[in-house]
Symmetry: C2
Subunit: 263 residues, 2 copies
């Protein structure tokens, strides 16, 4: 099972293969982010190597794309990856084989056929991130990899009030790390869910700038602990000045939760 037969002209590989959509979950703790980089262990490199090995094609021929290039330490429950695969690929077997090689740290949750022009990044209509906070006096060994432990008491009503101004179209310059290109984004949802001492912030947007969610959570937590007034948040947003926003929330609490497509 190889993608390109030796006798086929290399210039028309797409006609011989099919586009596949994967939904991938990973514990980002020990990955240096998604995007392949020389000399470090990334999600793209580990997933690409496993796919290339199972499909017996060079990794360069997979034409991998992803919905969200998560940073080092950031997790994913619903990362979406597009790739080229041979037309006769058995998607269930592909998932099982990749999971055997890369799991349980990284797991293909679903593999399904996609249209020939499917691009996990460009075709996405929205992305949802969840940020998990543990709010109690002592940490929790079982949440240590996946939550930010905030021992100071947080006021949930204030957190909710502070989350409101982000909804809608804004220039998120104050919440983005050195933006090349526009920092205008449309946020569709920005809300808190509470379950005991575990608080989850969910934010949905068509797209995000770099470190935008962690920057927003950093400011929200400053409001929730009383170090910043919730009424100031609109001012921070309008300033478009990154130095006005506060601390960056740690990567470990962040998870790319879900990505929406038209099809």
């Amino acid at each position: 099972m190889t993608l390109f037969d030796a006798g086929q002209p290399a210039s028309t590989p797409q006609a011989e293969g099919r586009r596949v959509k994967l939904v991938v979950a990973y514990d980002g703790t020990d990955f240096h982010g998604f995007a392949a980089q020389p000399g470090v262990r990334t999600v793209e490199a580990v997933l690409g190597d496993a796919l290339a090995s199972v499909l017996q094609v060079p990794v360069e021929c997979l034409n991998l794309t992803c919905a969200g290039r998560t940073d080092a330490g950031v997790h994913a429950r619903g990362q979406v990856v597009g790739l080229d695969a041979p037309p006769d690929v058995d998607l269930d077997r592909l998932s099982r084989a990749v999971n055997k090689m890369a799991g349980p740290e990284m797991v293909v949750r679903r593999a399904e056929p996609a249209s020939a022009d499917f691009d996990a990044r460009r075709s996405a209509r929205w992305r949802t991130y969840q940020y998990t906070i543990l709010n109690r006096p002592e940490p929790d060994p079982f949440l240590a990899r996946f939550a930010w432990w905030v021992p100071e008491s947080l006021d949930l009503a204030i957190l909710r009030l502070a989350a409101d101004p982000f909804v809608g179209e804004h220039d998120f310059g104050a919440f983005c790390r050195r933006g090349t290109g526009t920092t205008v984004r449309r946020v569709l949802e920005s809300r808190w869910h509470a379950s005991g001492d575990v608080l989850r912030y969910e934010i949905r947007a068509r797209a995000f700038c770099w470190q935008m969610v962690r920057s927003i959570v950093g400011v929200l937590i400053e409001a929730g602990t009383g170090r910043r007034r919730p009424g100031d948040i609109l001012g921070v947003l309008r300033s478009r000045d990154r130095s006005v926003a506060g601390q960056l929330a740690p990567a470990r609490g962040l998870c790319l939760w879900d990505v929406g497509y038209d099809t």
Copy 2:
């Protein structure tokens, strides 16, 4: 803040200190079990070193006892540890200082005064263990450290039927690793809880033999997948023959959940 003043006679240290009860949680993945052993990293060694450092007493003078000597890789949510501390110890500060040194991998959840004769092991009335199973075709990166992934479909009704015979007083010889002394134990509860594809087996007994819970779970899963008839379990129990019981469930799914005391 030291336990023994230089001027005090060394022969009456107890009279100068107080007994303290700690409730401790830990991610057992990177510990070689609870009990101190030369040359390996154990819960007792890390906790003992942190306590000795904060209290400024030699670790030998703490007289540490624990409710359950968990094996390598086994977790605890409610391990109970007894120790001697100076009479003027501030228990909240002690917890915070230990958590700063050993957390979030190991966390003191509570610290409270105990009676002078409190022994975490001998004073315990019962222990509860929980064993977590993930039952779905693909693994889950977020449960990988704390659950046993069983991809074969499990029949919950069968699992429940198979769990019943363990309740009551039995000789658990077939479910214990080389028992020195009696292997008769009284099981108070043996039940399954299900939440989606996560199944939790809870077992409560006054005391357990070595590897008893993992051995029971191994047999239960054989029944749940259809490899063993639930009706055979009573026969395994009565055989008192370890070779009749099946595979040992992996350590990672097991957690010392709770310990009960009269006081």
